[in-house]
Amino acid sequence: MHRFANPTRFLKIAGYVQPWMAAVTLALFATGLYMAFFTAPPDYQQGESVRIMYVHVPAAWMGMFCYAAMAIASAVALIWKHPLADVAAKATAPVGAAFTFLALATGSLWGKPMWGTWWVWDARLTSMLILLFLYIGYMALQGAFDDRARGAKASAVLALVGAVNLPIIKFSVDWWNTLHQPASVIKMDGPSIHPDMLWPLLIMAVGFKTYYMWVLLVRIRQEITANKVRILRLKQVHGG
């Protein structure tokens, strides 16, 4: 891991990997979406609207995955002062927030025809909403300091606190939900999902993951370049 701590070496590798990630992402999205729209059968209960699932479920997975990635990167940054880990955590946050928002938005669109309402205080929806707030708090804290290094450190601590809290929040929301609501409205079709539906779902999930890697590389490179530009500007100003 420390081998790649050197930004120059990282930039070189990232430059090679990025177009491949882009190509794989586009190929997976093309296949996944084609299968989702044309080969996957409509659900016998939910009809055509079940196709929202192929975006909704991977987005929800990625929302949680990105938070985990962010927390791990933050821990690495705090413990080893790994220079790229800070950048990676910072670059992950908006992507994760966007995935979480996408999951909430598609869930709401799916909910309207299914349950007849845009929003239900279901345990899963509620914890996704709180996850979104955690992302927003993280990004707000990061941008709140004049000194970027402080913002990075403070938000890294927050990401770890959030990571410890997230399972507790998830559990308590489940508990709250079972107390306040009769048996949940949403049940996916149970554990047995038909292969015709499972395949597009998995392809989309992998596609979302490679998309994240792609965007992450772009954002890290952009951040490193922005840092270089800032240092050059400062040098110019100070006449160095």
Binding site: L78, I130, F133, L134, I136, G137, A140, L141, A144, F145, D146, R150, G151, K153, A154, V157, L158, L160, V161, G162, V164, N165, I168, I169, F171, S172, V173, W175, W176, L179
Partner: protein
Amino acid sequence: MAKFMELVKRDLALAFRQGMDSLMVVAFFIIAVVLFPFGVGPEVNTLAKIAGGTIWVAALLSSMLSLERLFQTDYDDGSLELLALAPIPLEVTVLAKVVAHWLTTGLPLIITAPLLAVLMQLPMDGFGTLILALALGTPTLSLIGAVGAALILGSRRGGVLLSLLVLPLYIPILIFGVSAVDAAIFDEAVRPHMLFLGALFVGALALTPWAAAAGLRQALE
């Protein structure tokens, strides 16, 4: 331990000399709850139904409002740096400040809560549980809040930011606190909710001083 008590005494003395701070928290707590009957109407059954939740939400907000001054004044006048240099671990300093914070905000909230419960028509069965749940829950609020208060030191727009950081983390306490009160009213088992509140308190007691001290350290660098 003597130094710990010394720190608590210092913070309490500061809070009392400045006088109004605790009173303002209590005043906010009362007025926030009093707004609800205007919002939902004075009907007794409606009020009784939302009483527990309202009081808890107001307690959460009041506790949060007073967090900003937990470290901020010491940070501004430089005494926080001296405290960090003192021969006791920063984690213990954090804990002492949290104890002082709870004594000046959490405790007054608990004392005021029965009055608000009367105003909100909370059924009599819920009173004892409400106070016990607040007594178990408010220290956790102060502990978690300390992490947020440490992280925002030196930032722009600290107050609003603090609410954004801390309120999502308060949700579990709110859930179990309200469930406990509801359970007492509907004659169900209160114990599991209380145990969860206790677990959250013990967990926060063990973990948050580390996180808050980490926050303070990077603020003082």
